[in-house]
């Protein structure tokens, strides 16, 4: 296994106990833990540099602005974007709403279609539902195949002239599936549709290149990639950001405000209404720096190995069903499963008693849960700080669950 084990000491929370046992954190797909480097960067910002950005005509504000814009440049480079193509906001959800309200509300009309995948997170579904109420556009879904990958034949069939937007998750937070975003983008672009990529799971775990993907918009959250809560990123192609309308209005995003109407600041500030998440941007930049130091290839390799080990060991448990590809080459580290008739919530409680944190539920993907006929699953998800023995502990916990519930 790629040896990242010595990283664990960078994460102070891993020294905690949960229910009397050392914490084994297997819920990174929900939110990741933070290394000292990130916590300290935020702390240091507030102690030494805190001021509003782009506003003050004094040294402190200038320093804060420089650090904020340097954070933007670093985050943009991390996904191979230009700094002007990257706007900070509250998170993936908020970024996708910005696309729906900023682009969708102005460009969709009755008869138009928004083509989503059935494995989208609610964050890439509900904003389109809301905007379709105002525009009359229709939502259509690409199903998945029996092996939990996107049904590309169905996609091709559904991709007709009515489709104006294709929304796709780069990596499913339930199945782990990595979708062929470039292939989807090429097909979508051929009929003139835009591609909106939910990269909330992808950016933390694999090297993402917005140009290689040819994504029109792409969204991700800092808190899932070792960074702080309260900040996310919207990438948009420069020409799109320049021509589209901002969703939110307020200070700092204007060029001029008249009584009836306003003109907008240049990109990306047009998309950052009000005081941005400043300390959070500094924290996110520290997270990116930390990930770059490890190298995204090493991150990915580590996860491929530990996920492979987990799939092997979980797969060997009787009556355990894994929902997702079993081939680590096209999946990430989120492993969803059920065990016999034990409800996932009960599994989570039993594991919790052993200090093991897994998630149980629909994972904010109800349409997918329904299509899997599994309204709830348990999910273990891995990150750089997880080790093989975490998987072993998980398997032991599941054995205890079998005993408690008398599963043969």
């Amino acid at each position: 296994m790629t040896d990242l084990a010595d990283l664990r000491s960078d994460f102070p929370i891993l020294d905690q106990k949960m229910n009397g046992h050392p914490l084994i954190y297997l819920d990174s797909a929900s939110t990741s833990q933070k290394p000292n480097a990130v916590i300290d960067a935020i702390d240091d910002f507030y102690r030494t540099t805190n001021a509003n950005v782009h506003r003050g005509a004094y040294g402190l504000s200038n320093d804060a602005t420089d650090r904020y814009e340097a954070a933007r440049a670093r985050v943009a480079a991390f996904v191979n974007a230009d700094a002007g193509e990257v706007a900070f906001n509250r998170g993936t959800t908020s970024a996708l709403n910005q696309v729906a309200y900023g682009w969708g509300l102005y460009n969709l009309k009755p008869g138009d279609r928004v083509l989503l995948t059935l494995m989208e997170h609610h964050a890439n579904i509900v904003p389109w539902q809301l905007v379709s109420r105002h525009t009359g556009a229709e939502l259509v879904y690409v199903p998945h195949t029996g092996d939990y990958t996107l049904d590309l034949d169905a996609f091709t069939e559904l991709l007709d002239d009515r489709v104006k937007v294709v929304g796709v998750t780069a990596m499913s937070n339930v199945l782990g599936t990595i979708n062929p975003v470039r292939q989807i983008a090429d097909a979508a672009h051929q009929i003139g549709a835009l591609v909106v990529v939910d990269a909330a799971q992808a950016v933390p775990h694999v090297a993402v290149d917005v140009r290689a993907m040819d994504a029109d918009f792409l969204a991700f959250s800092a808190h899932k990639m070792l960074g702080p809560t309260g900040i996310g990123v919207l990438y948009g192609k420069a020409e799109l950001l320049e021509t589209m309308e901002p969703a939110e209005g307020g200070g700092e995003m204007i060029s001029d405000v008249q009584l009836d109407s306003s003109t907008w600041a240049a990109v990306p500030h047009k998309f950052e209404a009000g005081t941005p998440p400043i300390a959070e941007a500094i924290g996110l930049a520290a997270a990116v720096e930390y990930l770059e130091r490890i190298g995204m290839d090493a991150v990915r390799n580590h996860e491929v190995e530990i996920t492979g080990y987990a799939l092997d060991r979980l797969g060997a448990i009787d009556a355990l069903t894994i929902y997702g590809p079993t081939d680590t080459s096209n999946r990430g580290g989120a492993v969803s499963f059920t065990l016999a008739d034990i409800h996932p919530h009960d599994l989570a409680t039993i594991l919790d008693q052993r200090g093991i944190a897994v998630r149980a539920g629909h994972h904010c993907a109800r349409p997918l849960a329904r299509s899997l006929n599994a309204p709830a699953t348990a999910r273990a998800s891995f990150y750089i700080y997880n080790v093989r023995s975490d998987v072993d502990a998980l398997v032991d916990g599941l054995q205890e669950a079998r005993e408690i519930f008398g599963v043969a």
């Binding site: 409800h343 996932p344 919530h345 409680t349 008693q353 149980a360 539920g361 309204p375 709830a376 519930f405």
Partner: protein, 149 residues
């Protein structure tokens, strides 16, 4: 906190073989309860004869605690009057909220007394995350009874 206290035999039994797990003919009151965060769902239907529950249905999907609670609750309220049910609800709530350490109150209220199988849910109290699972059918019952009025 021992898992054995949570997953007592009687709870697993009600989970696997839920009682009153069927619709009631032309119910006087129906309510759907949902715990959107963990996904537990339960529908309670009641048919009244005067102020007595003549039939009750408790249908749902969810974890062992929520579904066992629904099953045991249905058993407990079947055939009872509103006044008796109110007393049951009160007793159940007391049982679910009292701190074990708070011996004084525990003794006075004898948590679980007269709750029959439901006493098995006492263990849930020590698992705060799961209390809302146990509560769900009861809150839904109150709504169904209200709807029946």
């Amino acid at each position: 906190m021992s898992l054995n206290e949570l997953y007592r035999e009687v709870i697993l039994d009600h989970y696997r073989a839920p009682r009153h797990h069927q619709h009631v003919d032309s119910p006087d009151g129906t309510a759907e309860g949902k715990n959107p965060l963990c996904g537990d769902e339960v529908t309670i239907e009641v048919k009244l004869d005067g102020d007595v529950v003549a039939a009750v249905g408790a249908i749902g999907v969810g974890c062992s605690i929520s579904q066992a609670s629904a099953s045991m609750m249905a058993e407990a309220v079947d055939g009872k009057s509103r006044r008796q049910i109110d007393e049951l609800i009160r007793k159940f709530k007391v049982m679910m909220t009292i701190e074990e350490s708070d011996e004084q109150v525990v003794n006075t209220e004898r948590p679980g007394a007269a709750l029959g199988d439901l006493e098995a849910l006492q263990g849930v109290r020590k698992f705060p995350v799961r209390i809302k699972c146990a509560d769900l059918p009861w809150i839904t019952l109150e709504q169904a009874l209200e709807a029946a009025e």
